[in-house]
Symmetry: C2
Subunit: 362 residues, 2 copies
């Protein structure tokens, strides 16, 4: 009997159903890969922080929220300039409900979280570029191999402000047509600003569309962000042994392109896990990006916040935030692990409970 989950197979349905079947009744581990980039501080490019400078605190705060249920390096929770709360709230609620363990990995952070984390990259000092990409991929691959022994499958998410712009950069320089296709956490997707930013990066590094299709390490070094080598390495190490649900939006395209260029044999063990909001988004095209890279299924958590009692959550239906911190993939994993008893209604109630607790004064 086929179980019913609030999950939509939106691309490559037979493979998506196969993946759902293969993780049925299995125990996942959720890994959140964090990083910061100077790109996020370009005014207007990221909503992950009320002020551009605050984006350095968003990933460690997200990581703390995942592990502790509250943030330590900031008070309250990360919010967009409009006060919409971080999707880490969804991830935390889903993982908690389904008792899924969490590991935080650091690809390169300016501000360290006040929790234990797996160090894959180190701190960013110069902020000028992504350093030691090859070495970070190697380390993360070793970590992925080890971690794969600890769970039946992995769900890997990310928290890095400005990540869709760096994703655009890596996708373009690797020859994937992603102009106007990457997503945004902002209500109006600032495609022009992103393209302009990437073009400046291409000029500065003497590269052009497709010129680094065969050199993913240089692509990430020149135009990427520190989340990418850590995430790609974890996938490369783990997916030789267990299925990996890459939890995110269009940024997963850049990671997938890097993974494919380094070892296409792992592609059969991968799926993208995202949210319905990403799929429904008219300003971006996740399917259009992924289908250019590999025949990988996409699963979307069919979340619906339209009837939430909180304006901050209803806003998710208004095309803001949409995804992040692996919210979609964590939700899919929680629904499957619970055998369908965690529905979108159950999850929304838990999210509302956590939100209320986190934002109440005092």
């Amino acid at each position: 009997m086929k179980k019913a989950y609030d999950v939509i197979s939106v691309h490559n349905e037979p493979k998506a159903e196969g993946l759902l079947k293969s993780i049925d009744g299995k125990n996942p581990l959720f890994v959140c890969v964090t990083g910061t980039t100077e790109t996020a501080k370009i005014p207007g490019i990221s909503a992950a922080g009320k002020y551009p400078e605050l984006t350095d605190y968003t990933p460690p705060a997200d990581a703390e929220l995942l592990l502790l249920g509250r943030c330590k390096c900031i008070s309250g929770v990360p919010v967009t300039p409009e006060g919409i709360p971080t999707p880490a709230l969804i991830t935390r609620s889903a993982l908690r409900l389904a008792d899924i363990p969490v590991l935080v990995a650091n690809g390169g952070l300016r501000v360290k979280p006040c929790i234990p984390f797996l160090d894959l990259g180190g701190n960013i000092r110069t902020g000028k570029a992504v350093e030691n990409v090859g070495e970070v991929i190697q380390r993360a691959t070793i970590a992925g191999e080890s971690i794969a022994k600890l769970a039946d499958y992995l769900v890997i998410g990310e928290s890095i402000p400005g990540g869709t712009t760096t994703a655009l950069g890596v996708l373009l320089v690797m020859g994937i047509d992603a102009e106007g296709k990457v997503s945004s956490s902002m209500p109006g997707n600032p495609h022009e600003l992103k393209i302009e930013t990437v073009k400046a990066g291409l000029r500065a590094s003497g590269e052009e569309f497709g010129s680094l299709a065969e050199d993913p390490i240089k692509a990430v070094s020149c135009l990427g962000d520190p989340m990418m080598p850590a995430f790609a390495g974890l996938v490369l190490g783990a997916a030789t042994k267990v299925p990996v649900l890459m939890a995110g939006g269009t940024q997963m395209g850049a990671v997938l392109a890097v993974v494919k260029a380094l070892n296409r044999h792992v592609l059969d063990n991968l799926a993208i896990g995202t949210t319905r909001w990403i799929i429904a988004d008219k300003t971006s095209d996740l399917r259009g990006i992924i289908s250019q890279i590999a025949d990988v299924p996409i699963l979307a958590a069919d979340l619906d916040f339209s009837r939430s009692k909180f304006a901050g959550l209803r806003a998710y239906e208004e095309k803001v935030v949409k995804e992040g911190v692996g919210a979609g993939g964590a939700t899919v994993a929680a629904m499957v692990k619970s055998g369908g008893s965690i529905t979108r209604e159950v999850l929304l109630r838990e999210i509302e409970r956590n939100y209320e607790f986190l934002v109440r004064p005092g």
Copy 2:
């Protein structure tokens, strides 16, 4: 039917047998807690490095050996001044044979290993004392809770040169009679030098025997080392959920005293895993230390290197090294996980193979 392992129950036999039964057929995770301390650089106090300054490289090199099968931050493997190889060789061989996953945790290192690791403490900058003991214990407790979800039980070992002297310090200031009882990796156990070192530490901190019996955090801050809060926190977090085999020699006494002072309810879920060499050592008294603290069983891996073809390994029978990097506990776990098919002979052959590979020229 009772299975036969090359394991000796040397203290609290009924509980030891109960622990062996409870982990039968279960999947462990091995965690190696690393740290460095200035105490190791006092001439004559530690054998974990040919020259005192090199002791900063021993723990990261041990960690690399565990995860990769070879060291990266040094060439070859860590050796004592006489050329006896690190017990990490035993640990690596046991874990590899039994396919037991490994996680490296950093309690406080001067030199970072070139592998992924769980950051619990951070780098040591001043080297003057152990900083942020309370905070590290908190973080490590959170990590222990998370990690406990990933395995049926934990085996936790340590790599910190100079660790028996800091153990003596913490034991004495917490009121445990450990004078002349801590072990040593050197052929002649330099008890006088250790006691003198600890007495200088007690004077400098204005403390005396037993004065911090109720304040384990201050005890570690004044006289301990950065391995201790990370190790104790992991135990405190994990042992509320799963059994924990504390893998080591007399240093485990200091960690156990800290754990007991912070939460005696976890004591029933603990055992000490060590080597026969520690038990047979006439210059130290593990049982005498542990029995003053808690009713915790001791299991010893019945290793025998007397017929090894390598002088460097036969030396283990001559009262050098004896234990470290969780060698005894990892061996016990490997023997139990394999249902007894990993005997001490099987393990010795694997250790010899790895040793040959690691020390051959070029």
